[in-house]
Amino acid sequence: MSIMRYFRLIGMFIRAAIQNETAYRLNVVMRLLGTGLSLAGGIGGIAILFHNSGSVNGWEEAETLAVLGVYMLVLSLNGLFVSPSMHKLGGMGGEIETGTFDYTLLRPVAKQFYISVREWSVWPLFDLAVSLGVIGVAARRMEAELSASSLVLFLLSLVIALGILYSLMLLLSSIAFWYRGTYVLWIMGDLLQTGRYPIGIYPKPVKLLLTWVFPVGFIVSTPAEVLLRKSEPVTLLAGLILMLILFALSSVFFNRSLRKYTSASS
């Protein structure tokens, strides 16, 4: 199967998503409103926090704003296809639960590719645009100069972040093959919210937890730190190694879990 065929398939999935979602016009307007409101909420929360205190645990307002921007960026990229695809697989009412995974297994394409990219959502594009704006504003307030090399490093850290996030989500949705009724995928979004603020703000034990157990640190903080030039090259390297390990682990686990699947219906 040629590479081109994979890209054509992705194009088709995206077209189908657009057709599906633009059918409900009021919903579109409400989505825009929702993006605006969550932006207002994010910025408002930070404004209230720093309105009352100059700096929190050594973090300034503009830096915190940059972290919020990166958080929104990573989340919107995740929401474009990783999260919708994973929820379709192992989420509530997903294919493993309902037994419609039969049809997926029968499709003549690579399984892991298909379940990872088949479901798209167009709304995160709004969030994506907004998050870039937030990052821009924050960078301006800090009078940070964005050089080509720091942008390249930032992109690299984003790829690492998304790779880690994807692997974690694949691991969690594969659990549904073994034990039906644990919707661990659902609380993933809730746990990710810890990335809204620099993890340096949290008490020490929580910070350690967020770096090594549930690596929000690598998913949100590291890209933000690269942007703010606060990071050390070692962190980026550690993130890269973690991503490779997690990706290999989750792929093996997913493919092993496939054998566990017994159809729920005919």
Partner: protein
């Protein structure tokens, strides 16, 4: 009104949900994350001194209280109701000889009965972990309990009315998300309302959102004067009345308009 039918629905769903405790406890843990994040952020922020009348102990108590109140008032059925209208599966509920709202109410009660003991236990453990100081007054607790009932009814009606809009728009989940965001912002989750700038604080007092979470919490912490308590109940009572009428109207008109194909 078919009360026996309603009770039977609650009983049936309660047994169903009890058998899936693990699932709901996972969800409840997820719902707890956001308040815990804000607890951690704010207790760091007030380390230098009290803000808006809240010191570190107050902030921790406030958010621990908020976790319980949030769980007790958070409705879950608006998502499913909107979904059922969207894909036509609500037909089965419409055929039963009980009012449509009973199905939602049955689920609400069942989910709350399943989740609350778990959440309360976690909150008590967190409180012990933070070594929080707690003084309780019987009067304040009774006012808070009454405010909690108002809050649960108001929050349910608000979300349920929006989900019924799906009868006209087919999809109402984006509006439901907007509603949830407003609750997050204006009900005292992102920060206690007392820390808000003045103008925004005044606006928040008039909107329904303060009364779905923040009001019972403030009452429990003893932060309110008698006059503030009185006006709070008056405003939330007004919203409940208005939304109850709206819900009745929407159910009547919506079910008449509803059509579905297939079985």
């Amino acid at each position: 009104m078919n009360l026996r039918g309603g009770l039977a629905l609650i009983r049936g769903q309660l047994f169903g949900y009890l058998s899936e405790k693990g699932f709901f406890w996972t969800l409840a843990l997820g719902w707890m994350t956001a308040p815990v994040i804000y607890l951690l952020v704010w207790q760091t922020a007030v380390a230098g001194g009290a803000i808006g009348g809240y010191d570190r102990n107050d902030v921790i108590l406030y958010y621990l209280c908020l976790i319980v109140v949030n769980q007790a008032t958070y409705p879950t059925t608006h998502w499913t109701t909107a979904e059922h209208i969207h894909n036509g599966t609500i037909s089965a509920q419409l055929l039963r000889p009980v009012p449509l709202i009973y199905h939602a109410l049955g689920t609400e009660f069942a989910v709350k009965i399943v989740c609350l003991p778990f959440v309360s236990a976690v909150v008590i453990l967190l409180g012990m972990g933070f070594k929080v100081r707690l003084t309780l007054e019987a009067e304040g607790l009774m006012i808070a309990a009454a405010a909690l009932v108002f809050a649960a009814v108001l929050r349910f009606l608000l979300a349920y009315a929006i989900s019924l809009l799906a009868f006209w728009t087919q999809q109402s989940n984006a509006l439901l998300q907007v509603n949830d965001t407003l609750v997050f912002l204006l009900a005292g989750q992102v920060a206690p309302l007392a820390m808000f700038p003045d103008e925004l604080h005044k606006l928040a007092l008039l909107l329904p959102y303060r009364y779905v979470v923040s009001f019972p919490v403030e009452a429990a912490l003893g932060k309110l004067s008698a006059a503030e308590i009185g006006s709070g109940f008056a405003i939330s009572g007004g919203w409940i009345l208005g939304l109850a009428l709206l819900t009745g109207l929407l159910t009547g008109r919506g079910t008449k308009k509803y059509t579905s194909v297939g079985g």
